[in-house]
Symmetry: C2
Subunit: 381 residues, 2 copies
């Protein structure tokens, strides 16, 4: 069933020739009127040129966003900055708006000059193809993803629709996770930024595959306002649901992955510490390799916890794999057969209770497989 | 050529039955007289029982150290602590000393109860086998290591001899890097601790394979004093040389590795920041996978730098692979052929100049291979 953007937004996805196989690699998202928007961007100091461009536009209304896949336009020096500006310029000419109203995003290999002329030449086709259906746009942003990632959550009389691609921590060769959300609720930019920050913190910031932070990570949310004033709490909940759905889809489609790993940390001082502990486990290549082998090596989970919180008291810690407790308040539980069985499916759940505190968090990762290494070893430059 | 311990130290390595294949798995190091010693230990909150035991003995003279491989005695709860004490007790009875003079170390899988009776039963054989040759001892501590790791550096009339095993960040399944050094220089414990801290910081703390911090990492240095008072500067230099030699041997013998990666960071604010940047690159599984494929994906190096230092200005950064510059003060260098050639040997050198500062550091790592994943995926519990 085709998902469509909320009223006031249209998109297109075409092939401009960056990807050698002729797949769609240029996306255009157009808002009928200048719209509120908010964004969160990578904190990496090697942030790509399009990140610098779009971040500098925060706080002013947007009319359009242009995105390409197959090239990150990252670490491309002065020519990269010029290319991002040129893209915005070209889109602005087609829409008769200011280039400052056009946002830019890119995803693909780092350090290759962006063939901006190919993008400019393909823009008329993209403009002619604009439609409410999110399909072609959601295809145009993919890199090593094997499928499109789309989510829609209603929110009283409005709705929130999101489209994303994996990568980022999942496949930083391709150098990006990107997500684009549109709501038809009316909401001012400052409120929308709070909604975005909170949703991103509870979703994309709680996934990690290889703990590598990309140069291009960007999340955009646009509010067209056609459905009238937002119930901010409902909008926040719907936005968080959309982001969580997209984040889960990213991990499920992580490079080389065979399993989703759901890490729940409970009983921590606060949610922030719980999230850091969960990310520590999600960053352990040893634990992730054990998951690939259905091997309940819980010692690697404890070693990861102990490296994050050096004050942790093992006597207060318990670990379970699925419903099988493997470490109970400082003491190992000898029978691992049940834990091993709980690792055989496509989703593995690890629950760590680290004491009596109120903090909790869930972090998602994928297993580490020989395929992941092979995919990232050869032919990436 | 057999390496022997400095005068005043003897060792043995025997099989006590922990390793199922009957390999040597019990090491005993005995000092003729109570000796100064210093130690540095993992900071992991999930530190193993032998780490707790040995760390608590810092500052008092030592007569012996007992070490087993094939079992980390980590995360083993109250029975683990009792087992470490029982080992010390048994050694003390044989040497007619106090159990507080006996240090303990272990390496192997986490979370398995230590068969301490097997160790106690094999001790008489070990005591009878004590000799100056380091060979059998250096074998007894190995886990997934493929060869022994021994280093010797003369130091005026004295010398420093060290024996180590890899793992730790290299292969934390086996849950440990261990190193044991002996000098015949006479030096008080406080000075020896300073020598040890400085040497470890410049060697073992500058290697990283999978960035996983073990529960059992321990470095011990003993001073028998038979060669008379130490020239502390010369002793410090010799100790650092021994530690660096052993650290390099660990990375060369890292699980599944096919290449040594030498990461040099220059031009940083200070050495500490340079070391953090180098460790950031060494922790990037994406860069390490690219090294396996001889693929000069320097974008992954920049992404790792930018994730560690968020204030980094790319316009001041240059990156070379061997002698081939790939990124020059903010601009990519298009020709990668020379860089690719420089990755084909058994050692890859990455040089990152991050500005005009005085700080520099070298960090060693190994490439990430499908073999590493396979080794750590199956049969580890």
């Amino acid at each position: 069933m085709a998902v469509t953007w909320p009223e006031g937004a249209r998109s297109a996805g075409v092939a401009c020739g960056i990807k050698p196989g002729g797949e769609r690699d240029l996306g255009l998202l157009v808002l009928d009127r200048p719209s509120s928007w908010a964004g969160t961007f990578t904190r990496n100091a090697a942030a790509a040129a399009p990140v610098h461009w779009s971040r500098s536009r925060l706080g002013t209304p947007a009319r359009a966003l242009v995105v390409n896949s197959g090239n990150a336009n990252a670490c491309t020096g002065s020519s990269g900055a010029a290319a991002a500006r040129e893209e915005a310029d070209a889109v602005a000419r087609h829409l008769s708006c200011h280039r400052e109203e056009v946002l830019v995003a890119s995803t693909g290999p780092i350090g290759v000059r962006l063939p901006v002329r190919d993008i400019v030449m393909a823009l008329p086709t993209a403009v002619n193809a604009l439609e409410a259906d999110v399909g072609p746009f959601s295809e145009s942003i993919l890199t090593t993803d094997t499928r499109t990632k789309v989510a829609r959550v209603p929110c009283s009389s409005a709705s929130v629709v999101g489209v994303a691609k994996g990568a980022a921590m999942l496949a930083p060769n391709m150098a990006t996770m990107l997500a684009f959300l549109v709501t038809d609720a009316a909401v001012d930019p400052a409120t929308l930024q709070k909604v975005a920050d909170s949703a991103v913190d509870a979703s994309f910031n709680r996934i990690s595959v290889d703990a590598c932070e990309s140069t291009n990570d960007s999340v955009f949310i646009f509010a067209t306002g056609t459905a009238g004033d937002a119930d901010v709490d409902a909008l926040g909940a719907a936005t968080t649901d959309v982001c969580r759905d997209l984040a889960t889809k990213m991990v499920e489609d992580a490079e080389g992955a065979s399993k989703l790993v759901r890490i729940r940390v409970e009983g921590s001082r606060d949610d922030r510490v719980a999230s850091a502990l969960g990310r520590g486990i999600a960053s352990s290549v040893l634990w992730r390799a054990a998951v690939f082998g259905n091997d309940p090596n819980w010692g690697r989970v404890l070693a990861a916890l102990g490296a994050v919180d050096r004050t942790l008291d093992l006597a207060t810690v318990s670990v379970a794999i699925g419903d099988a407790v493997v470490f109970d308040k400082g003491e190992p539980v000898v029978d691992l057969a049940a834990a091993r069985r709980n690792m055989e499916g496509p989703e593995v759940v690890v629950v760590c209770d680290v004491g009596g505190g109120p903090g909790a968090a869930e972090v998602l990762t994928a297993d580490l497989t020989p395929d992941y290494v092979s995919l990232n070893a050869i032919g990436t430059t």
